[in-house]
Subunit: 186 residues, 2 copies
Amino acid sequence: MTSTQSHLVNGVDAERLAATVSAIESQPGLGRFQFRATNRSISGGLNRSQIGTFHGAGAEHRVDTAPFVVDNDEPPVLLSDDRAPNPVEYVLQALLGCMTTSTLYKAAAQGIEIDSIRSEIEGDLDLRGMLELDPDTRAGFQAIRARLCIKTKGDRQALRALHRSSPVFDTIARPVPIEVTVEFED
Amino acid sequence: MTSTQSHLVNGVDAERLAATVSAIESQPGLGRFQFRATNRSISGGLNRSQIGTFHGAGAEHRVDTAPFVVDNDEPPVLLSDDRAPNPVEYVLQALLGCMTTSTLYKAAAQGIEIDSIRSEIEGDLDLRGMLELDPDTRAGFQAIRARLCIKTKGDRQALRALHRSSPVFDTIARPVPIEVTVEFED
C-alpha cells in the first residue's frame, strides 16, 4: 500500500480526505449519514440481506447500482447448514474492517504511510444468555479481544490509538439506542 | 417456511433445539462459544476478512472446511470504490439477520409457526464523530431504527418481543468490553 501516485497515502486520496474534512467543518450537516439494509428469512438460520442506498454528504448514494446481497446462516451445532457466516461473526469481522480503515484513513490524514494491517479477533458469547437460562448471562458478546499488527516505518506512537475512532468500535463499546417496531401480516 | 417434516418448525429442528437447551441446562459449559475472524488490509477502504473455526458446545467447529471470505469497502463519497458493503452496513444487516433468527428459533421452541419475516433498518451516523470535529458527537451509530414484519397465523403477542434476545441486539444495545492490542512490524 505504498503510494503509487503522489496524492495517495495508504491507498487513500489524502487531498480529497482533507477537502472532505474541511467541507464538513464549514458545513456540519454534510457529516450526517444514514445507512440502511433490508432482510428476508429463507429457512431456519438462513436469511438474506440487501444493502443498497444510503444518505450522506447531503445526497443519496448507490441509487443506480444493484444492492449488495449478504447471507447469514448458522452452523450445524446451532441447528442450520453453515451456508454463510452467522450474524455475530459479521459483527466481529466488521469491527476488524472498521478499525483497519479508520487507522489507515487517519494515518493518511497525518501523512503516515502504512504498508499493511493484519488483524485477528475473538469474542466470547454464552448461549445461556440468548436462551434465557441464566439471568446473569447477557445474550450478546461478554468480551471481545482483538490484535492489530501494523506494518509501517512511520511514527508508531501516532498510530497506536487511531482504531478507537472507528464507528463500529464505538457502536459496540458504548450503548446505542435501538428502536424496533414489530408488525404482523396473515 | 411451513414444516416439510413433522419435526421442522420454521425450518428449525424443534426436537434438536429442545435437546440442545436441555444439554446446556444440565451442563452449562456447553453454552460457551467463542467466535473468531481475521482481516488484512488491501488498499484504502478495501480489506478482506476470513471467518473460520469457532469453539462451542465443548468442541472446535469448521476445522476441515475453508473459511468464509468477506470484503469490506467504502463508497466513493467515503473515498473508496464501493466494491463491498462498509463495516457499519455489515453491522446493520447482522442486526436484522440476528433478530430474524432469534425470533424464528424462539418461536420454533414454542411451536409457533412463522411463514416469513421481512425487515428493514436504518442507522444514523455523523462523520464529525469519527473525524473528531465535535466532542459531543460519537463515532458510532447515534440511533438505529428497525421494522420487522412477521407473517404468521400464530400467537402474535408471543412473538412481539422475541427479537430482544438476539445476541447482536444485546451487543449493540449494551456496552461490550473490547480489548485491542496494537503491535508493529517494519
